[in-house]
Subunit: 401 residues, 2 copies
C-alpha cells in the first residue's frame, strides 16, 4: 500500500523550479469612493478596525462566545426570537440560496412575488432545488396588495411563499403585516428578502410571522460583504429537520451548520466548515453599532435623510420611481429624464467626484438611477453632495438650461 | 394593482417601537493566539492592513482591474495558465463544492481517493450532485501509488477522479506527477484538493495535468478565510460549458460567475453576486507577498522550518504519523504517546500559552495532534515555542519523568 514508484513526492519536488515567473504587481491602492449605489455602501470605520483584530480559530471557545453575541445582536436587529439566527459564510446571495436549498423539497410548490430583479433570482434558485415555481407579478416599482397575495395563495396552495421585503432593483418596500398569519393559515412558510431593509427600515420578523429571512451586510449594516444574516423560525426548522433526503448543497446545508453554530442539547458542536473569522468580527461590530444607536433612532435617521434627499430631488425636477408610501428610505430609484444618457451621468459621478451611484438593473436598465443612503452613509452631508453632483452632471447634458 | 388596504408600509411602520430591546454586548476583544493548528493560521500583518482599505463596488472599473491582478497572481502561485482561475466568494469548502457542483453531472462516475477526512467530504459533495461515487482507500496517513490509481481508473472508468493533494486531516501529500495524463488517457478529469498545499508545498497544476483545483486562503497564504482559490482547465471548462442542465447551485454556478469575473469575448461582464471586497483585497495582498518572496524560496522555507520541527520532535520522543517521504511541510500530524490525554495537552497550549494546535479529526481523533507551520507562521521562533510548550504540557502528565 502507498508505494510511489515512478512518482515524485513533495520531498523530491520541492527543489523544482517554478516555470511560470512571478508577475510584477504594484501596491494595492483602491480609489477612495463614496458608495451611494444599491450596495455595497462604505463600511463604518469601527468595522474596518474590527477586521484587523487578531484571528482566532473557528473551534476556539472565544469564537463560540463571539458567535453567541452575533446571534443575540442579529435577533434584536430583526426583532425575532428565532434560535436559528446566524451569519452565513458568503455574501447575501448565499443566504438567499440557503433559504431555498434547505426549505424547498423537490416537488414543493413555491409562490414567488416578482416585482423586480430579485424575485426572478429567487425563482431561479427555487427551481434549481426542484421547487415548482408559480409567480405573481406587478410592474417593477409597485408592491403586492394583501388581497393579491391572499388570492394567489388560495388558488395555488403553495408550500412556500417568497416575497421581497426590499426590492434592491426598484426601491420598493413590500408590506408584510399579516402576511405570515395568512401563509400559516394555509399551511405555507413565508420567506422574506431583507437584503436592503435590515436595520435601515423596520423589520418585525416575529410580528409579521416571517419564517425565513436573509439579508446582506453591505447595505444598512455598513459592513463589507462576506457574511450574510439568515434566520429560520421553529416552523421552518421543523420542515428542514423532517427532511429525509440530504440538502442538495453541502456548504449551505443548515442541518450541518446548525450543529456547528447552534449546537444540540448538551451543546456538542461539530466542525462543519471554516468560518470567515474576520468577517464575523466585522458583522459583530456592525451589529453592536446598531444596538448602540437603537433601532428606532436608526430607522428614523434613515427616514429623515431620505426625506431630505427626496425634497432635494423634487427641487431639481427629478422624480422617484416608487410611490412615496412604498418607497424604501434606504434606496431610491430616480427616473432618468427624457433626453439624458444615464450612464454618462454615473460616469461623471465616478470620474469627477469619486462617487458611485447605481444604474438600473433588468427591466429598469437605462430608465433609473439607484441611490443608496444606507447605514453609515445615511447622512445629510451625503444628501448635499449627491444633489450637487446631480445638478452638475445633468447640466453637462444641457438639463435645466 | 399594488393597493395595500389593511397593510402598513414602511412609512406607517417606521415609528413603530422595537419590541425586543438591544442587548448589552461589550467591546470585541478576541484573545491574541498563535494559530499553529491545521488552519486558520495567523494572517500576515500586511493582509490585515489591506482589509482596511476603503471598499469599492463590485462593478467598479478598479474592481475589475484588481480581479485581473488576483487571477494573474493565483496562476503563478499554482503554476498554471488556466484562464479560469478565480477567488470563490466563500471559504475553502465553497471552492471544493464548486468543483463538484459544476463538473459532476447526474450519473457521472466519480472516483475518489479516500485517505482521510477530506476524501470523505468530497465524496459526500459529489453524491449530492448526482455523482455515482466509487472510493479507493488506503489507511489514513498513507497515500495512493500510481499503480493503485491506474488500476482503479481502468476498472471503474470514471468521468472524474478526485484526489487530495494535501490531506488536512492526516498531513500526507499525495504525489500527482503523471496522474493528470493518466486520467486524460482514460477520458477523465483530475480534481485536486490543494487547501493545505497552496504556496507552501510545490503545486505544478499544469505540469501535473490537474483539471480543477481548489484551496483555502487561511493556511499557507496567511490570509483570513472568506475567499477561496479555484481553477478550471480548458478541459474542465469545456465539460461545464457543454452542460445542458442548469448547475444545481446558483451561488457557485461557475458559468454565471465566469461571465462576471472573466468576461466573454468583447469583455462584457454581467453582474452575478456581490463579491466580498475586503477579502478580495486580502487575497490580493497575500498573493503579492507570495510573488515577492518567490515560490521556490517559500517552498524551501516551509521545508526547512518543518525539518527543524521534526528534528525537535524526535529529540523529545514524539513521532509524526506520516512517513517522511509523504509528509507535508505545512502540516504535521504527531502521534499521541501512550498514556497521554491529548485534549489536556491542547488545553495547556491554549490556556497557558495562547497557542492553538489541532486535535485529531475523524478516524484520527484522540490519536494525533495536528501542527501547522504555514505561510507567515512558518518560522523558527514558532518551532522553538511549540517544542518548549510540548515539553511542558507533556511533563504535566508525567511524560519523560
Amino acid at each position: 500500500m502507498g508505494s510511489t514508484e515512478g512518482l515524485t513526492g513533495p520531498l523530491a519536488d520541492y527543489e523544482c523550479t517554478a516555470i511560470t515567473t512571478a508577475p510584477q504587481i504594484g501596491q494595492l491602492n483602491p480609489p477612495h469612493r463614496l458608495l451611494c449605489g444599491p450596495g455595497p455602501g462604505n463600511a463604518h470605520p469601527r468595522v474596518h478596525a474590527a477586521m484587523s483584530l487578531p484571528e482566532i480559530g473557528h473551534l476556539d471557545p472565544a469564537f463560540i462566545s463571539m458567535m453567541e453575541d452575533i446571534k443575540r445582536l442579529l435577533r434584536y436587529t430583526w426583532q425575532t426570537n428565532n434560535e436559528f439566527t446566524i451569519p452565513v459564510s458568503g455574501t447575501g446571495s448565499a443566504a438567499m440560496e440557503a433559504c431555498m436549498a434547505n426549505l424547498v423539497e423537490p416537488g414543493d410548490k413555491v409562490l414567488i412575488g416578482v416585482n423586480g430583479y430579485f424575485g426572478l433570482r429567487l425563482s431561479d434558485m427555487a427551481s434549481r432545488y426542484g421547487g415548482v415555481v408559480v409567480q405573481i407579478k406587478v410592474p417593477w416599482g409597485q408592491v403586492f396588495s394583501f388581497e393579491q397575495i391572499k388570492a394567489a395563495i388560495e388558488e395555488h396552495k403553495p408550500t412556500i411563499v417568497g416575497l421581497i421585503h426590499a426590492e434592491t432593483s426598484t426601491g420598493a418596500a413590500q408590506p408584510l403585516e399579516g402576511v405570515g398569519q395568512l401563509c400559516h393559515d394555509h399551511g405555507a412558510l413565508l420567506v422574506a428578502d431583507c437584503v436592503t431593509s435590515i436595520s435601515g427600515v423596520p423589520c418585525h420578523l416575529d410580528k409579521w410571522g416571517v419564517d425565513a429571512a436573509y439579508a446582506g451586510t453591505q447595505k444598512c449594516l455598513s459592513c463589507p460583504p462576506g457574511v450574510s444574516p439568515l434566520t429560520f423560525s421553529k416552523r421552518a426548522m421543523d420542515k428542514l429537520m423532517a427532511r429525509e433526503d440530504k440538502v442538495k448543497n453541502w456548504y449551505l446545508d443548515m442541518k450541518m451548520v446548525a450543529s456547528y453554530l447552534v449546537g444540540g442539547k448538551g451543546a456538542t458542536r461539530s466542525y462543519h466548515h471554516t468560518a470567515p473569522i474576520s468577517m464575523c468580527y466585522a458583522i459583530r461590530e456592525a451589529l453592536t453599532i446598531v444596538a448602540e444607536e437603537g433601532l428606532e433612532t436608526r430607522w428614523a435617521r434613515h427616514r429623515e435623510v431620505a426625506e431630505a434627499f427626496w425634497a432635494g430631488l423634487a427641487e431639481i425636477g427629478l422624480e422617484p420611481l416608487v410611490a412615496k408610501e412604498h418607497r424604501l428610505p434606504s434606496l431610491t430609484t430616480v427616473k432618468v429624464p427624457e433626453g439624458i444618457d444615464p450612464k454618462v451621468v454615473t460616469k461623471v459621478f465616478l470620474d469627477k467626484y469619486q462617487i458611485e451611484i447605481g444604474n438600473g438593473l433588468g427591466e429598469l436598465a437605462g430608465k433609473v438611477w439607484r441611490i443608496g443612503l444606507m447605514g453609515f452613509n445615511s447622512r445629510m452631508d451625503n444628501v448635499a453632495v449627491l444633489l450637487a453632483c446631480f445638478k452638475d452632471a445633468l447640466a453637462q447634458q444641457g438639463y435645466g438650461a
